[in-house]
C-alpha cells in the first residue's frame, strides 16, 4: 500500500467509495449477478487499449464525465467535510485501529482470491496475518502482523480476472465508487461474495465490517486531503487526471505496465525548450 494506492486508488475511489460500499452490501442480494455478467462481457473489448496512444480506452467518456461531476459535487458537499472532520476529531491511533479492523475483516477475501490466482504464498501470508491480527491484535484492531515483519499482501477479484487473462475493458467512472474499468467493476461485484466471513456472521454484526470500511475510507480521504484535493479541485481537467492516475496506478499494482512506461528520451525534438 503506497502513496497513490492510499491516495488515489483508495482515497479518491473510497473517499466516495467505502462510504457507498455499505449501501452496496445491502443491495447485494439484488440483481447483482446480472451486472457481473454484463460487465464481464464488456471486458472483451480491452485490446482496444493498445490502439490508444495514451493507453486510455474510454468509449463512454461523455457519460463518465457526467458521473465524475456528480462524484465531485458529492465529495465537495458531503464526503470531504465529513472526512476532514472525522480525521480531525479522532486521534490517529483510533483512526488506525478502525482501519486495521476493516482491513483484517477483508483478509479472508484476499486468501480466497490468492488461491484463485494460484498464489499459495500470498494466501499463506494473508492467512497468517488474519490469524495473528485476529488473536494477538484483538479482533484486528492492532496490526501485530506488521510488527512481526509479516509483509502486507492485498488482492481482489479484479486482479484474479487479470491473472486469468481477462482484458481490462473500457474505463468507467462509477457513481460513488469513482474510477474503475469494466474488469475491475466485475471484480468489485464478485468480491461482495468472496469473503467467507460474510457467510458465517449474522446481521447486525455483519455490518460492523462495512461501517469500519466506510470509516477507513473517510480516514484516508481526510488524511491525504491535500493530494486528493489537488487532483479533484486544482487540476485543469480533474476527470482526465483522475482517469490517468488511477489507470496507471492500477496497472502498476497488477504488474501490467506495458509499453506506456517506456518513453524513449531520444525520440523527441526539444529544440527551443
Amino acid at each position: 500500500m503506497g502513496i497513490w494506492n492510499n491516495r488515489i486508488n483508495y482515497v479518491y475511489r473510497i473517499s466516495n467509495g467505502d462510504f457507498a460500499l455499505s449501501l452496496f452490501y445491502r443491495a447485494r442480494r439484488a440483481a447483482i449477478l446480472l451486472l457481473a455478467v454484463g460487465s464481464l462481457a464488456a471486458c472483451a473489448t480491452s485490446d482496444q487499449r493498445q490502439a490508444q496512444p495514451d493507453g486510455v480506452f474510454d468509449p463512454y467518456e461523455a457519460q463518465n464525465r457526467r458521473i465524475h461531476a456528480f462524484n465531485r459535487g458529492l465529495d465537495r458537499a458531503v464526503v470531504r467535510p465529513a472526512a476532514v472532520g472525522y480525521s480531525t476529531v479522532l486521534p490517529d491511533e483510533i483512526e488506525d485501529s478502525i482501519s486495521h479492523f476493516a482491513k483484517n475483516l477483508g483478509e479472508p477475501s484476499v486468501v480466497v482470491n490468492s488461491l484463485l490466482q494460484g498464489d499459495a504464498r500470498g494466501a499463506g501470508i494473508s492467512t497468517v496475518r488474519f490469524l495473528t491480527n485476529s488473536v494477538l491484535g484483538i479482533f484486528g484492531l492492532f496490526d501485530v502482523a506488521s510488527d512481526f515483519q509479516i509483509p502486507q499482501h492485498d488482492t481482489d477479484f479484479g486482479e484474479t480476472l487479470y491473472v486469468w487473462g481477462v482484458g481490462e475493458g473500457a474505463y468507467v467512472e462509477l457513481p460513488l465508487l469513482g474510477p474503475s474499468t469494466a474488469r475491475n467493476t466485475t471484480g468489485k461485484v464478485v468480491d461482495l461474495f468472496t469473503n467467507p466471513l460474510s457467510y458465517m456472521v449474522d446481521s447486525p454484526e455483519q455490518y460492523y465490517g462495512t461501517v469500519a470500511a466506510a470509516a477507513s475510507g473517510l480516514s484516508r480521504r481526510g488524511r491525504f486531503s491535500d493530494t486528493v484535493d489537488s487532483i479533484l479541485y486544482e487540476s485543469a481537467d480533474s476527470y482526465a487526471q483522475a482517469r490517468l492516475i488511477w489507470l496507471q496506478n492500477r496497472r502498476f499494482e497488477l504488474g501490467d505496465t506495458g509499453s506506456a512506461a517506456e518513453i524513449d528520451p531520444f525520440a523527441l525534438d526539444t529544440e527551443g525548450f
Binding site: 502513496i3 497513490w4 482526465a240 502498476f252 499494482e253 506506456a260 528520451p265 525534438d269 526539444t270
Partner: protein, 198 residues
C-alpha cells in the same frame, strides 16, 4: 610469467587512475545511481533545513533544474502543441513550467519530512537507466519511486519519475493539454495560467 603479471598490474593501475578522470559522458549504472543518490541527498537536505514554504519551493526549483532534463520534460508535456509554438513561447513555457513543477511536487515533498528515499537498484532499459528507490514516510507503508536517467543532453539527468507507477511525463502532458484546451488553444494564455497553478 613475471612479465605478464607486471603488465597486468600496470594495466590495472593505469586504468584505475585514468578512468575516474574521464568526463562522465558514458552513462553507466554507477553514474545513474550516483545522480539519484545525490538528488535524494539534496531533497533530504531541503526537507531537513526547516525553511519556510516559499524558500523551500525556490530550493526545489533549483534541484529540479540541476538534476532533471527540464527541456525534455517541458517539450514532452507540451506535446504536439509544441510544434506550433514559437521559440519565445517555448522559452516562456519552460520557465513557467519549472516553477509550476517545483510548487506542485515541492508541496508533495513536504510529506517527506522525517522520511527518506533509498536507492534499491539500477537497471538498463534500452538507451536509458531505471533507478528504483523506496520511499519511507512516517505512518505509511514504503512505496516505490522510480527515476529514468539518460545522458541525452550530454549530462546525466533524470527525464521521468514514477510514483507507484504514476508517470510524471504522462500526467503533466495530460494537465498541460487540458490547460491548452481550456484556453481555446491559446498558448500564451496557457503559459500565464501555468504561472498561477501548482
Amino acid at each position: 610469467m613475471m612479465m605478464y603479471r607486471r603488465h597486468f598490474i600496470a594495466a590495472a593501475t593505469s586504468a584505475a587512475t585514468v578512468l575516474p578522470a574521464l568526463p562522465a559522458f558514458a552513462l553507466t549504472e554507477a553514474s545513474a545511481e550516483r545522480l539519484i543518490n545525490s538528488l535524494v541527498g539534496d531533497i533530504n537536505g531541503v526537507i531537513a533545513s526547516g525553511k519556510g514554504e516559499s524558500a523551500m519551493f525556490r530550493d526545489f526549483e533549483r534541484i529540479f533544474a540541476k538534476y532533471s532534463d527540464t527541456s525534455y520534460i517541458a517539450a514532452y508535456a507540451m506535446g504536439v502543441d509544441g510544434r506550433s509554438a514559437s521559440n519565445g513561447q517555448k522559452r516562456a513555457f519552460s520557465k513557467a513550467f519549472q516553477g509550476y513543477i517545483s510548487r506542485k511536487y515541492g508541496r508533495r515533498f513536504r510529506e517527506f519530512i522525517g522520511g527518506r528515499l533509498e536507492v534499491k537498484g539500477v537497471r538498463k532499459v534500452k538507451n536509458w537507466f531505471e533507478v528504483e528507490t523506496t520511499a519511507f514516510l512516517r505512518g505509511e507503508s514504503p512505496f516505490a519511486v522510480t527515476f529514468h536517467v539518460s545522458d541525452r543532453s550530454g549530462r546525466d539527468l533524470f527525464f521521468n519519475m514514477f510514483i507507484e507507477g504514476v508517470n510524471l511525463l504522462l500526467t503533466e502532458r495530460t494537465e498541460i493539454g487540458a490547460l491548452i484546451d481550456r484556453n481555446g488553444g491559446n498558448i500564451d494564455a496557457m503559459i500565464s495560467d501555468l504561472g498561477k497553478l501548482g
